[in-house]
C-alpha cells in the first residue's frame, strides 16, 4: 500500500498540470488534484495492478471535474457551457495573468478542452484519450479538430487561408 501511495505521488505533477490547465485556477486545480488522489486511495482495490495507473488516475480526475461542474452548475462563477458568447469569467488570473491562450481555454467547452489538453499537453494518444474520457476514438478526433481550430483562430487570428497576423 505504501508503494501504491508513492506511485500516486509520482503521477501528481502531471495530474496537477492537467488540472491547472483544465480549471485555469491554481487553488481549484490543487483541490481537484487532492480529491483525485484521495478517491484513488479509497478505490485502490478497483485498480488492477499492471494496468496503466496514470490513465486510471486521469480517468478519475476527468470524472471528478465533470461531476464538479455538474454539481456547481448553479454557482455564479462557473462558465463552462458554451461560453463563447459570454464575457470572460471572474476567474483569478493565477498563471501570470490571463493571456490569450488562458482566455481561449476558459471559453472552450469542457468536452473540447479535455480532449485538446489530454492530447496536446499531456501527450496521450487518441486511443488512450478515448479510454480516459470513455468516448469513441472518432469522437476524440472530431473534438480535437474543433477544439484546435477554435484555439488556433483565437490565438493566431487565422483567416481561411491560415494567415497569421
Amino acid at each position: 500500500m505504501q508503494h501504491f501511495r508513492r506511485s500516486l505521488l509520482e503521477q501528481a505533477p502531471a495530474l496537477r498540470r492537467y488540472a491547472r490547465a483544465l480549471t485555469g485556477d491554481v487553488a481549484r486545480a490543487d483541490d481537484l488534484l487532492q480529491d483525485c488522489l484521495e478517491r484513488a486511495l479509497k478505490r485502490a482495490h478497483q485498480y488492477h495492478s499492471g494496468s496503466n495507473l496514470k490513465a486510471w488516475l486521469f480517468t478519475i480526475m476527468h470524472h471528478l471535474f465533470v461531476d464538479g461542474l455538474r454539481s456547481a452548475k448553479s454557482g455564479p462563477v462557473l462558465v463552462e457551457l458554451d461560453a463563447a458568447t459570454l464575457d470572460l469569467p471572474a476567474v483569478q488570473p493565477t498563471d501570470g495573468g490571463l493571456d490569450d491562450l488562458g482566455a481561449a481555454l476558459l471559453r472552450l467547452p469542457t468536452e473540447h478542452k479535455e480532449v485538446v489538453l489530454l492530447v496536446c499537453l499531456e501527450g496521450w494518444g487518441y486511443q488512450d484519450a478515448a479510454r480516459i474520457l470513455d468516448i469513441p476514438v472518432g469522437t476524440v478526433m472530431s473534438r480535437l479538430h474543433r477544439a484546435r481550430e477554435t484555439l488556433r483562430q483565437q490565438i493566431f487570428g487565422a483567416d481561411e487561408d491560415g494567415g497569421a497576423p
Binding site: 500500500m1 488534484l33 487518441y126 484546435r148 484555439l151 491560415g162
Partner: protein, 263 residues
C-alpha cells in the same frame, strides 16, 4: 495537386501533428503540405499551439506539491477522521494566509523551482524538535536562567554569535537550549514555550541546508510547520506545531533579532 488517391482530411493533419501516423502516411501528408502552403501554415500553428500549452503549464510540474497532497503519500490515518479533517482546514487556512501575505514558495515556485525533498539540516531540525519537545524536565540542557552562559557556549561551538530571540511579544518564553551533534557539523537549539505549553524549536547548524535564502521559507510537514533560512555559513530552522502563518511570523522575529549584532 498531389497525385495521391487518398484525400488528406483535417483528421490526417491532426494525426500528423500528434505523431499518430505511420511513416508511409507521414510521407503522404508531407507531400500534401508541400503542395498546399496554407494547410502547411495551419499545421505549423497547431504545432505552435502545442508548444504554447507546454510553455504555459509545464512549470507547474516543478512546483512543490501541496502539503496535503504530500501527506497522502504517507501511510497514516486509514479513514478521514475529524482530527485529520480539522488539520486539513487549519493547513488550508494557513496556506492561504501565508500565500496571500508573504508569497510562500509553493506559489512563487514558478520563478525558482523548489525541491520537495528537504535538506538534511532541515530533517535534523525536525527530528530534534520531535525528540526533545515531549521531554518534561530535561527538555533543555541549560535552562533559560543561565541564558548568558548558554549563548556563549552555543556561539562558541557554532563559530558565530547566535543568541536566543525574545519572543515574549508573541507569547513565547525561552526554556533553554542544548548542543547537538549533526554528523560532521555542530548544531544547537533554543526552545521556547507559550502559555498553552506549545513549544517551538530554533535550530541553528553549521550544516549547509539552504543557500541564499534570506527570508524564512515555510512549509507544513505532517502536523508540524517548519521555516528555514540561512545567514552566513549557518542554517536556521524554526520548527513547531504552530500554524504555518504564525510560525512564519515567529521566524521573522527570530531572523530579525539574529541579524542584530549581539551585545
Amino acid at each position: 495537386m498531389t497525385s495521391n488517391s487518398k484525400p488528406i482530411t483535417d483528421v490526417y493533419l491532426h494525426a500528423y501533428v500528434d505523431g499518430q501516423l505511420s511513416a508511409t502516411q507521414r510521407a503522404e501528408v508531407e507531400a500534401y503540405l508541400y503542395a498546399n502552403p496554407h494547410k502547411a501554415r495551419q499545421v505549423e500553428q497547431y504545432r505552435m499551439l502545442t508548444q504554447q500549452l507546454h510553455d504555459k503549464f509545464d512549470a507547474s510540474m516543478d512546483e512543490p506539491l501541496p502539503a496535503a497532497v504530500l501527506a497522502l503519500g504517507q501511510e497514516r490515518a486509514p479513514a478521514p477522521s475529524p482530527t485529520l479533517w480539522w488539520g486539513r482546514i487549519a493547513a488550508a487556512v494557513a496556506w492561504l494566509a501565508v500565500g496571500g501575505s508573504a508569497g510562500w514558495l509553493l506559489h512563487s515556485g514558478v520563478d525558482q523551482p523548489q525541491q520537495v525533498v528537504i535538506s538534511s539540516a532541515q530533517q535534523h531540525a525536525y527530528d530534534a524538535h520531535r525528540f526533545y519537545v515531549r521531554e518534561g524536565r530535561h527538555v533543555v540542557e541549560v535552562p533559560a536562567a543561565d541564558k548568558d552562559h548558554l549563548m556563549k557556549w552555543l556561539s562558541g561551538r557554532l563559530g558565530a554569535q547566535v543568541g536566543p530571540a525574545d519572543l515574549t511579544s508573541a507569547g513565547y518564553q525561552l526554556l533553554g537550549g542544548r548542543l547537538l551533534p549533526a554528523g560532521d557539523y555542530v548544531s544547537g537549539i533554543y526552545m521556547y514555550e507559550n502559555a498553552q505549553h506549545e513549544r517551538i524549536t530554533q535550530y541553528i547548524s553549521t550544516e549547509p541546508g539552504v543557500s541564499g535564502i534570506d527570508a524564512p521559507q515555510c512549509e507544513a510537514r505532517e502536523i508540524l510547520s517548519m521555516c528555514v533560512w540561512n545567514k552566513g555559513a549557518l542554517t536556521f530552522v524554526l520548527v513547531g506545531a504552530a500554524p504555518l502563518a504564525e510560525l512564519q511570523t515567529l521566524a521573522q522575529h527570530v531572523r530579525e533579532q539574529s541579524m542584530r549584532p549581539a551585545l
